[in-house]
Amino acid sequence: MPSSSSEQAYVPLRQRAEWADVRPVPQDEGPHPVVPIAYTEEFRDVMDYFRAVYVARELSPRALRLTTEALLRNPGNYTIWHFRRLVIDALDSDLVEETLFVDNLAKANSKNYQIWHHKRWLAEKLGPEAANDDHDFTRFILCHDAKNYHAWSHRQWVLQKLGGWDKELDFCHQLLEEDIFNNSAWNQRFFVITRSPLLGGLSAMWDSEVDYTIKAILQNPNNESPWRYLQGLYKGNPDSLITDERIPQLLLNILKENSYCVFAWNFLLDVLCKGLRPNNEIIEAVKGFTELDDAGSSDEDLPTRICSALERMDPIRVNYWAWRKSNLTL
């Protein structure tokens, strides 16, 4: 947000010749205001004049300039944005210039809903030719904050409405190379493989995505995101979850090196509950690990033993694993 002590001293609108014919409309607080805000004089001045042009519905160049000043101080006010859009339409203003204006505001206020909505309005007007420029902008925002929810939302909207899918999977991959823990990038990857018109949908992408995800898991097994992604890949095809040999192979690989990997035990518990017929290696791995914890429980079925082990390994979720254990017989 720009501070009120800018390089040029602020000249109140009341003192500007251009606005001499306008009577400002002060905020009517009414008696006993609740949560009144200690506005600066500048804020108050600009808003008083905005109210005047809004009520008069003055759709003029000076009104446009006034909304600029108002938005620099109050970018969350959707009434000002709405009025600005009316002025832009009435004056047929240059939309490329407008994009520069809103992009600069977005850089300073990247979590402001109204700014992103204005970008959406502009994108719709500019059409598919502007899609790539728009993606360049969200890429810029995501470079500085790779999990900015607004930027991702906007990017998804532009992809679906205006296109530009061709480099999206690569973009996801690049972000994951920078930070394999970036759950937003994983989510975007799922979005692309399921919705991109260029890729053929989940069934076409499924096999290569399983390999991609397994590689990511092996890189860092204590990362929740790829485990959830892997689960997601099998949602449309639950039978393959218990027949795909890559799954028990992955779990054994991890548990050999990382016997305390909670996500791996969790995943094994889930596939056993869904009907996986464990091979001897899996059975030995479970018994070998849980034997240390649960003397006397060697007759218990694998899911029960795993739940007991998880109660110890993942103490934050001790109540959850106990509850899962109690539901196993249901």
Partner: protein
């Protein structure tokens, strides 16, 4: 859990903080001034949870809140798509011509919530124009716009519509089936909900989804605490596991996977588990310890541990989260409405 003993809940300091905010918000809240009525809701509902409503003049508050109601001219045609609810601030309210006032769903929810909390008598309150005009805000896909002049549509406003309907005890203002369909489409591959279909699972969005389904009557827990759901709704086991996985080693809740724990998600995500009858699965002592690291020496709560300056939003949700933990100095909460229960 290793670590320092949880501190005492500093009730007096919190009540003083909430009361101070009610009387004046510092300059840095100017960027949120469009949501003043929501800020008032945080302050008033905080005082109610803190059993300190006797410190305020409820009649004055009621008068102030009601002054934000947008009312149509008598000749107004309700089919023209304009919404007549409550405005969120004076800066979108124009007394010379109230047709130009821009009311919105979020401030309508906040306004009604304040009135409920202070015990306002709704007997003579005419809610018909709110509900009739709210229909115009619902989109063909079941989502809601917050204002009639165009804005983003997402789960937040589906929740607001459901909460408004629930508080007014009248469902004529929305199509519940369509809203349910929109919500279902927002469930992500990992079990949580995003704000829109395809968006990343997020604690706030998940709360909005589950609370809206709960308010609309699509989720019921019976006295044995088992869930009954009509078919083809949501994947509950994945949802439960997603929620449980949000509690970190520090005891706090994160809003999304692999992000830092933040005070407010103790309410958003904890609240989901509460509505599902599964709050007992939360590690309460660890959560309590985390929340007390966010308790500000100035009263109120901060977003992250060991920060000093509180803000009203995290303070309110900090109180709400501690109410879920049965903190004895706090009153009860209506989880699905996100407000202090009437005591």
């Amino acid at each position: 859990m290793e670590g320092p003993e949880p501190s005492e809940f500093a009730k007096e300091r919190h009540a003083a903080f909430a009361e101070m905010m009610l009387h004046e918000l510092p300059r840095d809240y100017a960027s949120q001034e469009i949501n003043r009525v929501t800020l008032a809701y945080f302050a008033v509902s905080s005082l109610s949870l803190l059993r300190s409503l006797h410190r305020v003049d409820k009649d004055q508050i009621a008068t102030w809140v009601l002054s934000f109601q947008a009312k149509p001219k008598e000749t107004h045609n309700v089919d023209d798509g304009k919404f007549f609810g409550f405005c969120g601030s004076r800066s979108c309210q124009f007394s010379e011509d109230s047709v130009q006032s821009v009311s919105n769903l979020a401030s309508t929810y906040s306004a009604l919530a304040i009135l409920k909390v202070i015990g306002y008598d709704f007997q003579n309150f005419d809610s018909s124009i709110i509900l009739e005009s709210m229909r115009s805000l619902q989109m063909p896909d079941g989502s809601f716009m917050p204002i009639d002049s165009g804005a983003e549509t997402d789960l937040r406003f589906v929740y607001c519509a459901a909460a408004i309907s629930s508080m007014l005890n009248d469902w004529s203002g929305m199509d519940r089936e369509k809203a349910k369909d929109y919500i279902i489409n927002c469930q992500s591959y990992d079990g949580g909900f995003g704000l829109t279909a395809g968006s990343e699972s997020h604690g706030g969005a998940t709360y909005c989804a589950v609370a809206a389904l709960f308010l609309m009557g699509f989720i019921q827990t019976d006295c044995n605490n088992s869930l009954s759901l009509p078919t083809s709704t949501i994947d509950i086991p994945s949802l439960v596991e997603w929620c449980i996985q949000r509690q970190g080693a520090d005891g706090g809740f994160q809003g999304r996977a692999n992000k830092d724990s933040d005070t407010c998600y103790a309410f958003w995500v904890g609240g989901v588990l509460k509505m599902l009858g599964l709050y007992h699965l939360v590690n309460k002592s660890a959560l309590r310890t985390f929340l007390f690291t966010c308790q500000s020496p100035y009263g109120g709560f901060t977003k992250f541990p060991y920060e000093v300056l509180p803000d009203l939003y995290h303070s309110y949700y900090g109180f709400a989260a501690l109410s879920l933990l049965d903190e004895k100095e706090l009153g009860n909460l209506s989880v699905e409405l996100g407000l202090a229960a009437l005591n």
